[in-house]
Point group: C2
Chain length 431, copies 2
Amino acid sequence: MAAKPNGQIAKVLDGPMNPMVTPLLTDLYQFTMAYGYWKAGKHNERAVFDLYFRKNPFGGEYTVFAGLEECIKFIANFKLAEDEIDFVRESLSSSCEDGFFDYLRGVDCCDVEVYAVQEGSVVFPKVPLLRVEGPIAVVQLLETPFLNLTNYASLVATNAARHRFVAGESKMLLEFGLRRAQGPDGGIGASRYCYMGGFHATSNVAAGKLFGIPLRGTHSHAFVSSFMSPDEIVDKSLHSSDKRTTCEDFVSLVQTWLNKIQFGETNQSELAAFTSYGLAFPDNFLALVDTYDVMRSGIPNFCAVALALNDLGYKAAGIRLDSGDLAYLSSEARKIFCIIEKDFGVPGFGKMVITASNDLNEETLDALNKQGHEVDAFGIGTYVVTCYAQAALGCVFKLVEINNQPRTKLSEDVTKVSIPCKNGRHNDWGK
Amino acid sequence: MAAKPNGQIAKVLDGPMNPMVTPLLTDLYQFTMAYGYWKAGKHNERAVFDLYFRKNPFGGEYTVFAGLEECIKFIANFKLAEDEIDFVRESLSSSCEDGFFDYLRGVDCCDVEVYAVQEGSVVFPKVPLLRVEGPIAVVQLLETPFLNLTNYASLVATNAARHRFVAGESKMLLEFGLRRAQGPDGGIGASRYCYMGGFHATSNVAAGKLFGIPLRGTHSHAFVSSFMSPDEIVDKSLHSSDKRTTCEDFVSLVQTWLNKIQFGETNQSELAAFTSYGLAFPDNFLALVDTYDVMRSGIPNFCAVALALNDLGYKAAGIRLDSGDLAYLSSEARKIFCIIEKDFGVPGFGKMVITASNDLNEETLDALNKQGHEVDAFGIGTYVVTCYAQAALGCVFKLVEINNQPRTKLSEDVTKVSIPCKNGRHNDWGK
């Protein structure tokens, strides 16, 4: 892909997702250098920079490149506002000449060319993901935003793809990480790039609205413990799925089913919560069953509501487990669902979706696979969105050419030295 | 601190720093639950939720609480826009009743009370950092944004404070993490909360503008390698510091000094870059000296420019080392600066600021301390902003009371069970 933004493109492309991504979202030294280049009369010299990383993350063998669209939107709209120029002036030395700020006023990315591998591609170390060519002072100002917009995006897309691989193709992956993400944008970016990396849905409503990612979510433990007993349910009536009949006392119907399937007591707070939730979402009833005791309370309470809904022509969606031995509990739950399907003649009840959550990551998914489990969907939060196993990718942005002369840096760390080579390696770009 | 936002406060308080922090920046299940509460007629029941974490991060003994101001700004402006309500309606089941969306239209946080420990306080596990009281459906909608706004903020403030402690009181700490942060907001938040945790400055210009954090930054390796030789410097003149005299050929003056202090060849690209940078920033000359060879090229080139500037009444700021053995190189650099101070009678030259960077973290700072070093300022990026050693804090938001009744959750994981206790433990709040 090659993109050369010009006035026309700038008019049709929106800016980056986050309005805080402005030309000031950069390191101060990009502006001091821009002044240095300008003062030396070098600011329009044609420079080529490569953006790449040195090592695949997570001890793995590949990386998924992401963040390109945001970079393109950023440069298509690159323009310093007057208050931004004023702030740069205050931040630089008072000895800086006025002419530089006039120059900044006119800066845009019309003369910048970006060559890149496609977003979502599998990429490898030391191979440029982006090549940026243009007037050196301008391209330098892009360094930090480009790195910020690609480093985390690529890391989390890679992390998601790895989780996808371990979970297996048949499993649903749900991203639940907003609360633990590194800031609002960490959360929104995670949802977007997890979806790119192979997740099916997110809990993040803002990301759903911004990117059209499917949303998932039902209720939490607080919902369960906020109820006291089924006595507090006032409106007990529920229309059947086909609207032809009405069950006037759904609470009693649930109780009848509970008596049929269970001999001991279940938690009444939980029973009330599930019944209420069934009344609110009869066509999408999915219950979190581990607030008290999964086997003695959560599963029977869930089944009672699901069977009562079934009487009215609704099909329950499933359960979520958020603690305990997920392999064991999912298998036991599956057994019970299958017994109910058989004993009460409810087709499909055995195939109820079992979702598991609770600090899942690659290792716990792998352990679950080894133990055997009956989980259909995994809700993954902290580990996938913060990239807990390795919190940064480490992309760099290196000058490889100026005025058609290759340039290199000889570092004290030998591993950091790379040989610039603009042509030859990636001549399939742009095709 | 206690804050009870009302109409008046809402008018004077700005919204959160990031305009993407809206009521939709939450998990879908907060809306499904809100509907469940509304449908059950429970939405206005008075609930109390506690926000706390279970374990100090980084294997440490304390945490620094941060993010409160953003939470308060968020609730002071909490209001669902019409397009947001439309999106929630699309995202929930089509069977949800219209009355709920009318209810959402009127929702604000006038009836929500927030009690919190002061932002910047040292806090400990299982002690509530925030207590939120209000109508259960509304408080539930705040759960995810409050967690998102405090989890990372507290983690990075703690991380910064730990780096501060290891570096020692006399050292400057500079946050250079924007390029490696988890998204734009991860970068801006990191700058803000590193400053709260004890850093002195940031390289992030946007954070400098938003929060008044001092900015630091000079030039990168690219600036050095973009120059070829001093011959390309066109404008060689420099006024003296007092503007009384002008040196017409600063390049020759630098060369004269270089001949006095150095017997071998230095890198001409680097010499040109430093000379240009000195011409651009004569009163704040700080050079990155490791692009080629620190001892044989970087330091002599730096000293030549610094001494030439000294002739014109300017005081150079110092050097930055970004690779190699920082303890050794800083000590050697210091020796040379001291020799120059003595041999050429330049008072203060030995006290030149030495800044070190290159993937620094608590461990490398500690190792440098043990080896002995002459670094005055540390530039820390990836490790402090991504909280690499532990990328998430894990704050939770638990229902502890509803309608004055304590509520608890009995989890399959015993470590997750907490005993609700609204009164008694923190009766000093709000004083």
